[in-house]
């Protein structure tokens, strides 16, 4: 009985986690990237999963906003999960390859939008310091 409950709960956890991450991404996907971030990240209109690590590195260079920490960790974990699916299950179910590639691209776009916000935040902080 405990084993059954464990597997059911783990499956539900996975499904809720994926939907939650997608809801976080969905909120940012409508926001256009600034020209500055497009130049820095090299992302034109659609982002690819291969750029994710580079955008995260750029994110680490900017001062962190405390309210974003949890979301970036969640998306990072989601991206790793997608990588895992892409390198294992996608070999058995080819339809998953397209899906994971699209999702990984959206994770990258989410990270780029966050980078955009961080740059704007840093700029505001600098302006406030100069004014003071």
């Amino acid at each position: 009985m405990a084993t059954l409950i464990f597997f059911l709960s783990a499956a539900a956890l996975l499904q809720f986690f994926i939907s939650y991450c997608r809801s976080l991404i969905a909120a940012s996907i409508k926001q256009p990237l600034s020209a500055e971030v497009r130049d820095v990240t090299g992302i034109p209109n659609t982002a690819a999963g291969e750029d994710f690590a580079r955008v995260i590195q750029l994110l680490d260079l900017c001062p962190e906003r405390p309210e974003e920490r949890g979301r970036i960790r969640a998306i990072n974990a989601y991206f790793r999960l997608l990588n895992f699916v892409s390198s294992t299950l996608a070999h058995i179910i080819p339809a998953l390859t397209t899906w994971t590639a699209m999702e990984r691209g959206q994770c990258t776009y989410f990270a780029a939008v966050t980078l955009d916000r961080r740059i704007a935040f840093s700029r505001d902080m600098l302006a406030q310091q100069i004014d003071a």
């Binding site: 709960s9 539900a12 809720f16 809801s23 909120a27 309210e67």
Partner: protein, 237 residues
Amino acid sequence: MPGSIEYTIWFLASLLELCVVVCALARHSFRRYLCLNLYMLLSLLVSLGRYQVLSHYGLRSSEYKYFYFYSDAVLTIFLYLALITLYLYVFDEMKVEKYLRLTALLLLVGTALFSYGVVQQSSSVQQSSNRMLTSFFFELSQNLYFVGLVLTYVLWGAILKLRETRTQLIQLVLSLGIYFSAFAATFALGNMFPNLQSLGYVLPVFGCLLPLAWAYAFLRLSHDARMAPARLAVVPR
């Protein structure tokens, strides 16, 4: 006594619970999600109470054990009621409030009776009534987490089916689903491997996730924000 890591996680969880209430008040969502906020307040008060009892009587005292299990059962029942209020929001326009309340009550009573049956079956004749009551509350909490998980799953299905678009509500439900399923899975794992020590750390960490997600939902998402829930489904609709 708990170590510094346990105290840090405990403090962090209490701080996050306070954050939820403050964020809800600041964004005028306190009354809209009254039951969710009351649960967070109650959880904060229980944390303070547990700390008082722990510092007075110690970790291994029966007073702390009783207080811990009774308060945990009360908190779980309250969270169950908070979940039912989310049902009421989603089914608001269908005017089925009366039926939802009745079903929720019957389900709660059914879970309590089932838990009592399990405890009575596994307890020996010599077991004291106090000990049996503690076992009952522990069993009730565990079972309510699983019932909560099933109900959240059904609610998520209803959200997708009814094309509910309120982003804040969607994120509150999804984070509650993560919380219930993480707890239910951890409890099940604990039953499968009773000697697994690391579970002692996992549960309090999971306890931080719900207030963190709710604080984010209240602080960053406006009540009017909308999204298409169909694109959140794991299986495309």
